[in-house]
């Protein structure tokens, strides 16, 4: 039986675009990057056979393209050792909404945006994200915690406020 190697691709596209958009911060650039990544994938001679490996492979291609794009703009996805800048224990959840989250994400350091994109948008487990980035699982655990705190701090510091408590959903 000859299996279509890219049968998973259409279903992955929305996540790939959202993933790229979160890292580079620009929807149009993200779409272009994903198109470029898809073209590379379709032209590849070796394509992972099992589905988890295929999924990781596709996200890795998009990540590489996004990092190249950041470098072209003189930005680096370096590990950000940001101190805790928000009081998680007393955060006002009414400020968390789709609009404020998107605004907050756009202002984060690329390293924070990347780990949030891997865990929350791509849906990778800590182990999968660790394998993709080549770091220990524990590093992913601390990076995602720091990134979310940075995002909450950005939301807290922003003057953007939601009028309804529907959380934008």
């Amino acid at each position: 039986m000859v299996r279509d190697q890219h049968i998973e691709l259409p279903a992955l596209l929305p996540r790939l675009v959202a993933f790229a958009r979160t890292i580079v911060g620009n929807p149009e650039t993200a779409r272009d990057l994903v198109q470029e990544a898809v073209a590379r994938a379709l032209a590849a001679r070796r394509v992972p056979v099992d589905q988890p490996a295929y999924r990781a492979w596709m996200f890795q291609i998009v990540r590489n393209a996004a990092i190249d794009e950041l470098r072209r703009n003189r930005l680096e996805v370096a590990v950000e050792q940001a101190p805790i800048t928000v009081d998680l224990w007393r955060f006002d959840d009414a400020h968390i909404a789709k609009l404020t989250v998107e605004r907050g994400l756009s202002g984060l350091a690329p390293a924070h945006r990347e780990i949030i994109a891997l865990i929350d948008i791509a849906g990778f487990s800590y182990a999968e994200a660790a394998a993709l980035l080549g770091v220990p699982d524990g590093t992913i655990m601390s990076r995602i915690a720091r990134a979310r705190e940075a995002l909450l701090a950005a939301i807290d510091a922003s003057t953007l406020r939601v009028l309804k408590s529907s959380h934008g959903r």
């Binding site: 000859v2 929305p14 379709l42 655990m141 995002l151």
Partner: protein
């Protein structure tokens, strides 16, 4: 100093909890702590709300056109007449999806009946949107020479289901997946496969899907699907 360190550990654990990364024993420990500690519970709610909003923001991504994939291997083997019948059926099917999504708005659990010349009966493709799973693709393939309708569903955090329908008298089970349920309706064998989905969630969704294919959906199915959509763990794999 110890309090500072404990606080940091709690933040790591709370994040791991919302990401579905804790073991059953760790989850149980955290659950009892959350019940007793209002500040901890509040921080957990904040992180869960933040994650849900991030996931929701990803839903609005617009998808670029995909370059044409390589020719599908089933076309020559099926024969052009059967392939054409399949394509016509799929066009009808995809049109019906659009139509059903408007017409069936009051229904909590709509489904679509597919008519394909290559199959002995009309497969039913359930709409699992209530469970947070979007129908993302449908295809007609012939693995091992057996005409098979394949419907794929995708959730927001890596959750994926594949529903296959083929002739019951020569059905071939597939390999792979982490959970599977098979059943037969009339002359069709159905197989639902999940990849990395938590077991309880899959059981609820598979039961509802089977009832849909039997055209015997109950109010309990809709309720179970809604409950399944609120499961907090992402699908791994």
């Amino acid at each position: 100093m110890a309090a500072e360190s404990d606080r940091y550990d709690d933040i790591l654990r709370l994040n791991a909890l919302v990401d579905g990364e804790l073991s059953a024993a760790e989850r149980a420990t955290m659950a009892s702590r959350l019940a007793a500690d209002r500040d901890l519970a509040r921080a957990h709610a904040t992180l869960a709300s933040l994650k849900a909003c991030i996931v929701a923001s990803a839903e609005t991504a617009s998808v670029p056109p995909v370059p044409e994939l390589a020719p599908r291997p089933w076309l020559p083997r099926m024969g052009w007449a059967a392939a054409a019948a399949a394509v016509v059926g799929l066009v009808v099917f995809l049109g019906a999806i659009e139509f059903a999504s408007e017409r069936d708005t009051p229904s909590e659990f709509p489904h679509t009946i597919v008519q394909l010349a290559a199959l002995p009966a009309s497969p039913v493709v359930p709409d699992l949107a209530v469970a947070g799973l979007k129908l993302t693709g449908v295809a007609m393939e012939t693995p091992g020479g057996i005409a098979t309708l394949i419907a794929t569903y995708q959730g927001p955090r890596g959750c994926r289901l594949v529903l296959r329908a083929q002739r019951a008298d020569n059905a071939i089970p597939t390999a792979g997946g982490t959970s599977r349920r098979t059943w037969t309706v009339d002359d069709l064998a159905y197989e639902l496969t999940a990849y990395g989905m938590p077991g309880e969630r899959f059981v609820a969704i598979a039961a509802a899907a089977e009832h849909a294919t039997r055209r015997a959906v109950t109010p309990a199915d809709s309720r179970r699907l809604r409950q399944a959509s609120t499961a907090s763990r992402p699908c791994i794999g």
